[in-house]
């Protein structure tokens, strides 16, 4: 185990991303041809059989989602790629788009055929203007070659709002509005962009599609953890020797990621904690390192796989200080639409800052616990629901860090 396996990054370093011919010479666009020669229902069934689940964090079954949009009756449907990648510590979608943009276009085109859409959007975060250029070049080349048929793709750039990664906020932003999440249901496959049936998938999800179509759903389903098969691209940050990315089967454990692939902690220091999934993930202690980086396994330990960011902290790190910084992030990124999150993230940051400044007490920690629990079920969208996770998990697993700060 602990071997890399490249599916979504299969062409990384092997092609010139700005040359569609390179992509085609490695079998690019064969999957789209194959898909278009397949009955739509059979195609979606095969995606379902692959058990591919969304790589954007929510882990929803991709084929199932597509089937809802395919069934919906409408004069227009949309395929939207979520390239907002706002989760701190994450750059996997950038890697895919910078190194193999055509694979994303092909995945989107297969989806368009499956659900009956002719228009697609890639919502790329404002921090990646160079990626927008690459995507536009790739789209122009694909159009020139005629490989996309009547499917049209447009790139739109975000403007620096983490919440726009939430799919309904993203849709609002595409429509030119403030990026505030919508009340659900209706879900986007029924009513999304301009109220039309819309599929929103993550970059990494779309990038897996051409390979699945080519090799079959069963092949994909046999890789990694059965309930969340395939691979996951991980980005390693913090106190780790190999601060880089890896694509691994989903039955790889956190310990293997940190000690084998990641090369362990620098300067012979001891491990203290790891936060997986980005800033909204829980902090995980040493005792849980044998958990596989699969969706359900992570949920079972009250953590989340999320975006696949792996942020490692060594024994010298002050978890209260790091968590305070994270609380500041959420206070800043809360869109303000619902009160539990708007007020809650602010109070949470206040309390964390108070404790971090050495002015807190056990009472404040109890208050944080209660506030966090209420937020996790009462906030409107995933931002507010996940915001307490770093706080609650550090209180649970690392109480000594808090006690050391009390006045």
């Amino acid at each position: 185990m602990a071997e890399e396996m490249r599916i979504v990054l299969r062409n990384y370093g092997k092609i010139d991303p700005l040359k569609i011919d390179d992509y085609i010479s490695l079998g690019g666009y064969n999957a789209l041809k194959k898909a278009c020669a397949t009955d739509k229902t059979a195609l979606i069934d095969d995606i379902k059989k692959s058990n591919l689940r969304g790589r954007g964090g929510a882990g929803f079954n991709c084929g199932m989602k597509w089937s809802f949009a395919a069934m919906a009756q409408a004069d227009q449907k949309y395929v939207v790629c979520n390239a907002d990648e706002g989760e701190p510590g994450t750059y996997k979608d950038r890697l895919i788009m910078e190194n193999d943009p055509q694979t994303l276009l092909e995945g989107m085109a297969i989806c368009a055929y499956a659900i009956g859409a002719t228009k697609g959007y890639i919502y790329c975060r404002g921090e990646y203007p160079q990626v927008v250029k690459i995507l536009n070049t790739a789209i122009a080349q694909a159009k020139e070659k005629g490989v996309l048929g009547d499917f049209d793709i447009e790139v739109r750039m975000g403007a620096g709002a983490y919440v726009c990664g939430e799919e309904t906020a993203l849709i609002e932003s595409l429509e030119g509005n403030r990026g505030e999440p919508r009340y659900k249901p209706p879900y986007p496959p029924a009513q999304g962009l301009w109220q039309k049936p819309t599929i929103v998938n993550n970059v990494e999800t779309f990038a897996a599609i051409p390979v699945i179509v080519e090799k079959g759903g069963e092949w994909f389903a046999s890789i990694g953890a059965p309930s969340y098969p395939g691979t996951k691209v991980l980005t390693l940050t913090g106190d780790i020797n190999n601060r880089t990315f890896f694509e691994v089967p989903t039955n790889t454990t956190i310990r293997e990621v940190i000690y084998k692939l990641g090369g362990g902690i620098p300067s012979g220091k001891k491990f203290k904690a790891v936060q997986i999934g980005g800033t909204s993930g829980a902090f995980i202690p040493e005792s849980q390192l044998d958990t596989p980086i699969a969706f359900d396994a992570m949920t079972a330990i009250d953590a989340a796989l999320g975006s696949g960011a792996v942020f490692v902290l060594d024994e010298t790190r002050d978890l209260v200080d790091v968590t305070t910084q994270i609380a500041k992030f959420f206070e800043h990124e809360s869109c303000g639409k619902c009160a539990p999150c708007r007020e809650g993230t602010m109070r949470m940051f206040d309390l964390m800052e108070k404790i971090n400044d050495g002015e807190g007490s056990a009472q404040d920690v109890a208050l944080l616990n209660k506030l966090g629990r209420v937020m996790s079920y009462s906030c409107l969208c995933g931002l507010g629901q996940a915001a307490p996770a770093p706080v609650l998990s550090t209180i649970k697993h690392f109480p000594a860090d808090y006690n050391a700060k009390f006045a």
């Binding site: 994450t90 921090e127 030119g176 509005n177 403030r178």
Partner: protein
């Protein structure tokens, strides 16, 4: 280019107000009040909505600011890699504090959240161009590029 011409280019783009705002900022570095009001007219929404959009996104500024926008990532991976020292160096070099612009209008200094270059923390960007593994010493060189 005049802001009216810029906005006109996006008039027929569905949901194009954000694209128009990006284009205006490329030219002016912020969104002037007249441009926001004009955008409201062109896109057929109340001025309050156009302001709502302009103030929602952290990349847009409704206040005039320095031409070269320096952002420093303060997300956790950059934070533990020493972002604080980089902030101090930037403030010292430019003689301003975070969130402000230099008097000569050359530089604006802003916090950012993760810019997706976490393989080389801490990271700063100048006009969206990322600089990697930034140290206080490197800050001096980077600023010199834009003087």
């Amino acid at each position: 280019m005049d802001y009216k011409n810029i906005i006109a280019k996006f008039a027929d783009v569905p949901g194009g107000m954000i694209e128009a705002f990006h284009a205006i900022q490329d030219e002016f570095s912020y969104l002037p009040e007249e441009a926001i009001i004009e955008a409201a007219k062109v896109f057929g929404v109340p001025a309050a909505d156009a302001y709502g959009v302009a103030t929602f996104y952290s990349y847009f500024s409704v206040k005039s600011r320095g031409k070269n926008i320096i952002r420093i990532c303060e997300s956790a991976p950059c934070h533990i890699a020493g972002a604080d020292e980089v902030v101090a160096a930037l403030e010292r070099e430019l003689g301003i504090t975070m969130g402000n612009s230099t008097a000569d209008g050359r530089f604006a200094l802003e916090f950012a959240q993760c810019v997706g270059q976490c393989q080389a923390t801490p990271v700063i960007t100048v006009n969206s161009k990322p600089y990697f593994d930034v140290t206080p010493a490197k800050v001096v060189e980077i600023i010199a590029e834009y003087k």
